[in-house]
């Protein structure tokens, strides 16, 4: 027993991730935490997407289940779990059964290396970014399997579209990622890193987020990635595989109930995963804004108060809506519920002001806030853009993003080695 406690405690003094420190207890705890957090994030994202999209489209969105539809995702989840699980008679049973598992597995496994803070990750792999890209592209397999196993035309076409799309956009995505890897190697030792934590640390060491590095090269790389990641996750305006008006629901047309919800879960966690890559590679991961420009103890304090203030604001917005609730007795329970929700948000906000908490959650907060920004962009795209046609999608991928990515790679490498190149030219001219 004592040995176990000692084993648990031994990690607390470490500043490494539990995976890297080899502590299985804390690794398990982190896995559970990440899984839980991810599920909550997907549920919240579901509600937020419906509400935000609804307000963009001059409607209210869910309003009935719970105050302002807050319990709608839970109601939906229960509905999906209780629904009859239909497998088409002509479907290939085993493949049909495995496909959603592969998709959801790939979507969740990538979070092993997502760094929420210098030590807040399940593990730190030296090939972190490769692992993420590799595992996340496994989901194509699941989608193709789903489309094939359904033994139906629309899913098959959706699967074909999706595989072609994901494969071609991964190329451009990879080129943008490599340009960041080049940027990480611009230090005295000249050693780059593929580790997700290492990438953020090198942004800290170089004193700027890579999105601003070699302006506008970093920005172009970021833009390529930001476009490719939307295509990679099959979201609007690249949502051809599940183009509702053409292919009804694309590769998951024949899926229902829990299996369908696995696809849903995978789609949203894949969105969070690619946004995490973008945040880690270009937007400084867990770093707070302006670490070099606005530095010093005072600024540190001010920025450490932001998480608490954010939650207090959310609580205040909730209370504002409590006041606006109809005064009819029918709404009494809803009003109390909303007030309770606001109180929880406010309490969390107050909790985040406590110095020991505040110092520990800052990293996670900034990381999540940046990812949340991307999530908002996803919703915004969906509300604004029409859908690309298949050939146009391929054109954008191969004829625009890929050449831009290649040029970017060469330019980044050239600018990164400008002193060496200059010396070589001088040497050649002197001789």
């Amino acid at each position: 027993m004592g040995a176990l406690l000692q084993y648990i405690q031994s990690y607390l003094s470490s500043d490494k991730t539990p995976g890297a420190a080899g502590n299985f207890f804390w690794a398990t705890v982190y896995i559970l935490l990440v899984f839980l957090g991810l599920s909550v994030a997907v549920i919240a994202m579901n509600w937020l997407e419906r509400k935000i999209l609804a307000h963009m489209q001059v409607r209210l969105g869910p309003m009935r289940v719970g105050p302002h539809g807050l319990l709608q995702p839970i109601a939906d989840a229960i509905k999906l779990l209780l629904k009859e699980d239909i497998m088409p008679a002509e479907a290939d049973g085993l493949v049909f059964w495995t496909a959603p598992l592969i998709v959801v597995l790939a979507a969740f496994t990538v979070f092993v290396v997502v760094p929420f803070g210098p030590a807040h990750a399940i593990t730190d792999m030296n090939i972190g970014i490769l692992f993420m890209l590799g595992v996340s592209s496994l989901s194509v397999l699941g989608i193709v399997m789903a489309g094939w196993a359904s033994n139906s035309h629309y899913p098959l076409m959706g699967a074909l579209r999706s595989s072609a799309q994901m494969v071609s956009y991964e190329v451009a995505m990879g080129l943008a990622v490599v340009s960041v890897i080049i940027m990480t190697s611009l230090n005295d030792q000249g050693t780059g890193t593929l580790s997700m934590i290492g990438i953020v640390q090198s942004q800290m060491a170089q004193g700027e987020w890579f999105v601003f590095k070699f302006f506008p090269l970093g920005l172009i790389g970021f833009a390529i990635f930001a476009i490719a990641m939307v295509a990679e996750t099959n979201r609007a305006p690249f949502d051809l595989p599940e183009a509702e008006s053409e292919l009804t629901a694309g590769f998951h047309t024949e899926y229902s109930g829990f299996r369908w919800s696995l696809f849903f879960l995978a789609e949203y966690s894949a969105m969070i995963a690619v946004s995490s890559i973008a945040v880690t590679l270009w937007l400084g991961g867990w770093l707070r804004p302006f670490p070099n420009w606005l530095h010093g103890a005072t600024w540190d304090l001010i920025f450490s108060l932001v998480p608490g203030i954010t939650f207090l604001l959310l609580g205040a917005i909730t209370f504002f809506n409590v006041v606006r609730m109809p005064k009819h007795p029918l709404f009494k329970i809803q009003t109390i519920g909303l007030a309770g929700f606001g109180a929880v948000l406010g309490l969390i906000g107050l909790l985040l002001f406590l110095p020991p908490v505040r110092d520990r959650v800052g990293d996670i907060f900034w990381f999540s806030a940046k990812v949340a920004g991307f999530m908002y962009l996803y919703i915004w795209y969906r509300g604004t853009f029409p859908r690309y046609r298949f050939d146009q999608l391929m054109k954008v991928g191969w004829k625009v993003l890929l050449p831009t990515g290649l040029g970017l790679l060469i330019l980044t490498a050239g600018v990164g080695m400008r002193t060496e190149i200059w010396k070589a030219i001088q040497g050649a001219t002197q001789r």
């Binding site: 489209q57 305006p237 051809l240 183009a243 008006s245 053409e246 009804t248 029409p386 046609r389 146009q392």
Partner: protein, 387 residues
């Protein structure tokens, strides 16, 4: 005029046969789109023959909404049949009613009084805007832009409110009677219409802001579903589809009915006959309709709204064809009277049905996604296709 037979590209059979000989060529894929499909605008069934994503040919199967409207007419009096026409193009019920009432009036040789004519024009043009708004919303939704749908439905609601105030119904209005109108315009009708015109002008700009210069929208609609003016005329295609191909043909100008000759408006035409041009033509048409409404609402004359029409209508033996420019194209009524209270035969020339014939021609060689765009741009209503 071209013989329709010469229009069709090389026949499907020869095309497929040529392909089957090649090694590695997969068999063609036959996909059944509809009658339950989110983008076929009702119960249209399209049997697509695909080579990968490319459309080799398609066949429309219609009749899922057939109610035998023309046959029903033979067992109803002229007045009784009036509400039935609303159920054909239920999106533009007022236009249908106008066409029918004017056709019977022609048969009876009566004319609606000027006041009724003005109110008819206002309501019909409001209906045209409502129909185009519904078209825009669903068309954009098919192409993947989900937001315009809600904007257009929000603004269409204002038109429906005016209809509701006028006659109590919102969709199948039965607004007109043979010989004029049953109801006098309600108090504040003119103000409501004027307010609506003021309200909807910036809203149309708002729709255009979302779409007209949107790169994806332009790419999805330009050079998609092209149809030449020659093919349009040969197939009998009318309405905005014909005008987008460059033919300046609008029955409101060409064969003026109601009192359209009193109003000043323009007929927009396109050049390329593609989906984008049809979109632009309809957007301009909405603005032109607003112009007509503005002129009409300012000059509604006083007087009765109903002409002297016999209680029991027995039109003289004979036949009449009368057509109007419905939002979707030429809507014609051919009525044969045998001198009794019931029509001997009524034949409707619905624009949607005739325009739908062009679908195959417009879709060949395009991609699956374009089929959806073309069905949307033809602006068909299945209630009118099947009747």
């Amino acid at each position: 005029m071209t013989d329709p037979k010469t229009l069709s590209p090389p026949s499907l059979e020869t095309h497929v046969a040529a392909h089957d000989k090649t090694f590695l060529d997969a068999n063609e894929l036959v996909i059944n789109m509809g009658p339950q499909h989110p983008a076929t605008h009702g119960v249209l069934r399209v049997i697509l023959r695909l080579d990968g994503e490319k459309v080799l040919g398609l066949e429309c199967v219609i009749g899922y909404l057939h109610r035998g409207v023309e046959k029903i007419a033979e067992n109803r009096t002229y007045t009784m049949f009036n509400p039935y026409v609303d159920r054909m193009d239920y999106v533009a019920a007022v236009s249908n009613g106008l066409g029918y009432c004017e056709a019977v009036e022609k048969l009876l040789s009566v004319e609606a009084p000027p006041r009724a004519q003005y109110i008819r024009v206002i309501l019909t043009e409001l209906n045209r805007i409502a129909s185009h708004q519904l078209w825009l919303g669903t068309h954009a939704l098919d192409i993947g832009a989900i937001t315009p749908l809600f904007y257009t439905f929000r603004d269409r609601e204002e038109i429906l409110k005016i209809f509701e105030k006028y006659c109590g119904a919102r969709l199948t209005t039965h607004a007109f009677r043979i010989g004029g109108l049953q109801y006098e315009a309600y108090d504040g009708f003119e103000k409501d219409v004027k307010d609506f015109v003021k309200f909807v002008r910036p809203k149309i700009d708002e729709y255009e802001e979302l779409l007209t210069t949107n790169r994806i929208w332009v790419e999805r609609t330009k050079k998609v579903g092209v149809i030449s003016s020659k093919d349009c005329i040969a197939l009998g295609v009318t309405g905005p589809v014909l005008r987008a191909s460059g033919v300046k043909w609008d029955i409101r100008k060409a064969l003026p009915y109601a009192n359209y000759k009193n109003f000043d408006f323009e007929i927009p035409t396109g050049q390329n006959g593609d989906t984008y041009d049809r979109y632009i033509v309809r957007m301009i048409e909405m603005r032109q309709s607003l112009r007509i409404i503005e002129q009409a609402v300012g000059g509604i004359p006083e007087g009765p709204v109903m002409a002297k029409v016999p209680k029991v209508m027995k039109p003289p033996v004979g036949e009449v064809y009368h057509s109007i420019e419905a939002p979707k194209g030429e809507l014609g009524y051919f009525i044969v009277s045998d001198g009794s209270t019931q029509p001997y035969r009524i034949r409707v020339r619905p624009p949607s049905f005739v325009n739908l014939q062009a679908l195959d021609l417009m879709c060949r060689g395009q991609l699956v996604a374009d089929v959806i765009a073309v069905i949307g741009t033809l602006d068909i209503v299945l209630g009118e296709v099947d009747r």
